[in-house]
């Protein structure tokens, strides 16, 4: 037998449960996918045009490691306007290759071997593996359906040990769509302060909140200096393929992240940074328009799902609903697989986002009304058959 050259921590990583559904779904015809975790809009034209223009003008070289200064200034202005927090463009803003890279950098910058990092499941699939790859130990907390998947201060209290260094939060949330409001964030913050934890706050869906503007935990008293905010352009500006995100936070952590970034990435793509600058300067109308459309589709899907007996709360943000499928008596995995095979509708089984997602499925409503209407018809037929 030949030697395996693979690193142990990579070998030990579980493959993502999402992959399996992707493979299944892509082999079939006439599938309606509610499994897509990205906008169905094309990037607003002014953004695309600005990026073309930058290429025409010859902006094809590296930028500063931390990103174009103008873009960092625009990010800082935007955060100041939206959440009333000020970040120094020179030292507290880092432009990254997607929020994904920002999450990775933040974890690598702060995690020592064996440090514990709390994650609130169900959650985005990358947090756990990114913590492990940084040498830390992910410690999941299960947010409860009865609390609309909101984390409680008591749950954090229970999970904290001497080794806990940080907690990753995500509001509005993928996969539940849940948004923590100001007072909920304040309650959570007080336990976090008490135990002197760092927060890595993934706020990539902040602009996509439908009832009130989502609050940032960084704006809460005493939290600015212990929070790294992760965000980006993928969701709110429909720019997933551009691979552009950012992190803002305390100077020492952003500096440390920039150091890793400088050695491992150099800088985020230049043409994407020029597009992002236009997005922040002149993209607000497009965001508002997309937001209205998501809100209407959210209302449609939440009503239709509840009517067919898949109960779900009205999620405040992102573009996911997370209904319970317990009525059918099927596991998430079986439900999703049968639904795909029998009705050609792809959803993501809840357990891939963590154990507490079992009994739920994630449906993305970032798909045309026509497709959503048809998907709801098919799902209704499926649920009737299986209950």
């Amino acid at each position: 037998m030949s030697t395996s050259y693979l690193a142990k921590n990579v070998e030990n990583l579980k493959p993502s449960g999402i992959r399996k559904f992707f493979d299944l779904a892509s082999k079939m015809d006439n599938v309606i996918s509610l499994g897509v975790g990205e906008p169905d809009f094309v990037t607003p034209w002014n953004v695309i045009e600005a990026s073309y223009h930058s290429l025409e003008k010859g902006y094809t070289a590296y930028t500063a490691n931390a990103g174009l200064m103008e873009l960092r200034e625009a990010i800082s202005d935007y955060l100041n306007k939206t959440f009333s927090i000020s970040y120094e463009p020179e030292s507290q803003v880092l432009v990254t290759v997607g929020a994904s890279q920002a999450i990775d950098l933040a974890l690598r910058a702060v995690v020592d071997p064996e440090d514990e990092v709390l994650i609130v499941e169900p959650c985005f699939v990358s947090y756990g593996p990114a913590i492990s790859l940084a040498g830390g130990i992910p410690v999941p907390i299960s947010a409860q359906a009865k609390n609309e998947f909101k984390i409680t201060p008591e749950q954090i209290e229970e999970a904290v040990t001497e080794k806990t260094k940080a907690i990753v939060l995500c509001s509005p949330n993928n996969p539940t769509g849940t948004v923590l409001n100001q007072s909920e964030l304040e309650e959570v913050s007080s336990v976090i302060c008490k135990h002197d934890l760092l927060v890595i706050s993934d706020e990539i869906y902040a602009e996509l909140s439908y009832d009130d503007q989502a609050a940032s935990i960084a704006s809460i008293n005493g939290m600015t200096d212990r929070t790294v905010v992760i965000s980006g352009f993928s969701k709110s500006f429909a720019m997933t393929g551009w691979r552009l995100g950012y992190a803002v936070g305390p100077t020492d952590i952003i500096r440390a992240m920039t150091k890793i970034h400088q050695y491992t990435m150099m800088c985020a793509p230049t043409m994407a940074q020029h597009g992002a600058l236009e997005a922040l300067r002149n993209g607000n109308d497009s965001v508002m328009e997309m937001k209205t459309s998501y809100r209407q589709r959210r209302n449609l899907v939440v009503k239709a799902l509840n009517e067919m007996g898949l109960s779900c709360h009205l999620p405040g943000g992102a573009f996911y609903v997370f209904p319970s499928i317990r009525e059918t008596g099927l596991s998430s995995e079986t439900f999703a697989q049968k639904l795909l095979e029998e009705e050609g509708v792809a959803v993501v089984p809840g357990h891939v986002f963590g154990e507490s997602g079992e009994g739920y499925i994630r449906c993305s409503y970032a798909t045309s009304i026509k497709q959503l209407d048809e998907a709801m018809k098919r799902m209704n037929r499926f649920v009737e058959k299986h209950t």
């Binding site: 993502s16 999402i18 992707f22 892509s26 599938v31 975790g37 699939v125 209407q296 009503k303 792809a346």
Partner: protein, 165 residues
Amino acid sequence: MEQKEIELLKLLEKNGRLDTVTISKMIDISPEEVEQMIAKLEKENAILGYSTLVDWSNVYEYEGVAALIDVKVTPVRGVGFDKIASRIYRFPEVKAVYLMSGSYDLSVSVEGRTMMEVSRFVSEKLSTLDTVISTTTHFILKKYKHDGIIFDEDNDDDKRIMVTP
């Protein structure tokens, strides 16, 4: 006007075939309320009709031409441009009439089966009207975008992969 009414109008403006039940869920009112709202908006002339955007160039063996005509007129005391506009817009081949700022007065959109037909309309009907001083006819060679819809593009084409985190 009420917020929900504007939402309803925007939805219908984009897709006149959206059904009542779907709309009711999207804007969070009952189907009956949607019906009532539509009836009210029709009565108030906020909704004037429901049409379908057809790309005739994709219809087999269909022949047709369209032209935009710049018209200069002499406004008439008391009625301004309205009287002459109303004489023009009543012709069935006229699809749109706008009063313009700038170097001419009325912009008239005309459709016909052939160029001959449109030319005849301009020379015999339009330019012979009393107050019309001059006309400049521009035939439309190709439609790229109309009423916010891009022609010649597969809009339904979803370029995303099936399942992503």
